[in-house]
Amino acid sequence: MHTTSVVIGAGHAGLAMSRCLSDRAIDHVVLERGDVANSWKTERWDSLRLLTPNWQSRLPGFGYEGEDPDGFRNMAETIAFIERYAKVISAPVETRTTVTSVRSVDGGYEVTTDRGAWSARTVVIASGACNLPNVPALADLVPAEIATLAALEYRNPDQLDEGGVMVVGASATGTQMAAEVQRSGRPVTLSVGEHVRVPRIYRGLDIKWWMDRCGVLDEHYTEYDNLERVRNLPSPQLAGSDDRRTVDLNSLTDIGVKLIGRLAGINDGNAQFSGSLQNQCVLSDLKMNRLLDRIDEWATENGLDETVESPHRFEPTRFETSPPLGLSLASGKIRTIIWATGFRPDYSWLDVPVLDRKGRIRHDGGVAEAPGLYLMGIPFLRRRKSSLIDGAGDDARDLSAHLASFLDGPSRS
């Protein structure tokens, strides 16, 4: 089969690209290993809700039309939203079609699937940023009597043994799981490395509203001198809930979660923790306050100070000055370890030599280092918001324009 462009993945990113290609009358197909919104259907925990408000999931030609713009979608609603988008834009999706290889051929790419092969001049990879758990190598040293699971395998606390749980990682994922597991009656120890603290609500308004309006989310990848750092930042400690509560470390301490330093080693069945907890907490408090300073400046410049609550600062993160540096994993205190240590994409099917030494695609704002190959849906791909559903639209518009001029060829560009 032949088409002009193959889009791999029918999540929000692939569908946004499909819509932009259709707008440009570029013939294409969207290949999806499962159903539309597959990862949202099969790889998320039960209680997860989007951490962006309903109004913020804006996709090309599609937005929120319901009556709760400030609410947060649960998974069923998120799946329905993405399915509806696929229908509304009449995306040419081939479901149940797993890509097994993509390789360069004369005039473009050959995409092999378990349901036949496509040839195309261009390929857009929108297969997700969170396909595989990023479990640290020291996981191999965990004693066998302790159950371990990656965040991708976690569904709800009922699947865990009774007894203590160590959650490793304090991103959105780690903090949400720590809160849920602690509330289930299993005492949680949270191992905290670098993390990003943000309040859910600031000056009476959702933090995502502020970040959207004051331009933080539109920051372009070319504005950063250290892209490597920002592309690898943990997700901010945020959760979507009806009571709009903040899930920072203080809120976890309040419900009894014990904070401990970054897991640094396992030696003879003893877990060893870094003595850097204080600095990790101070760093993220300072960073949060810089964001709030920026919001305050923007609010003043835009005459909002009379209409919204006054600026204020949050209580600094509370931490033990001398938290334990070691913990015996044989003592029975910890029965389960959850690795909330991040995710990485799976490119095992990609036979085009564009991967760096860490297995990531080398690209410039989504334009991969192979002509006609594009990437979507990766943190900080082109903007700070690239990791959000809301970021897929602008990225797809930019990259579809690049793709179109690539198809036109150098003589006409």
Partner: protein, 185 residues
């Protein structure tokens, strides 16, 4: 404060940024090896020497050979010919963090006027004396206090110090476990 003179903390930031750029594409060149030798003098007195190291794919030498005398004070029934080894650890931590403060401040266009670090390391010597197995040999904690005079807000100065910890080798060595193998020829 208005200033027209460019910020200069004596750190060549451009060279550091260029090195980061160059080394991210050449991970093998980034592999360094630091070395020291140590000779017993007498009693608890020893003298360490550093001179050569390896990095950027080749051998290097310091501009001159540096030596460090270490001993223990008279309350340990020693002759006090030099700092105790744990004091050298404090000095190493302070120097590493302070180098980081200067570099990060330069990177962030903050002019430093003075930087003083004061370090305290608590230790219960029942550990090293073997008097109580529940007491560790090393520090039970280290406290570093910075006094910094610079053209920046208190939060900006705190952020420089926090970032310096995040990028410090000695801070990492002290706060995280390291495998140590000691062999005898």
């Amino acid at each position: 404060m208005e200033t027209t003179t460019p910020v200069d903390n004596g750190v060549n930031v451009e060279a550091l940024l260029e090195a980061r750029e160059a080394l991210s594409d050449a991970p093998e060149a980034a592999q360094f090896q630091w070395r020291a030798t140590c000779e017993w003098v007498s009693g608890t007195h020893s003298r360490s020497t550093v001179e050569g190291f390896f990095g950027l794919g080749e051998e290097h030498s310091h501009k001159s050979k540096f030596t460090f005398d270490a001993d223990h004070p008279e309350v340990f029934a020693s002759e006090d010919h030099g700092a105790t080894p744990v004091e050298l650890v404090l000095a190493a931590l302070a120097s590493c963090l302070t180098a980081g403060v200067a570099s990060v401040a330069q990177m962030r266009d903050i002019q430093l006027r003075s930087v003083t670090a004061t370090l305290e390391g608590g230790m219960n010597i029942q550990g090293i004396l073997g008097a109580d197995n529940d007491v560790r040999n090393g520090f039970d904690g280290i406290k570093v206090t910075y006094d910094i005079d610079a053209d920046a807000t208190p939060d900006d100065i705190r952020a420089v110090v926090a970032q310096s910890q995040k990028r410090s080798a000695v801070y990492d060595v002290i706060t995280n476990p390291t495998n140590v193998s000691v062999e005898v020829n």
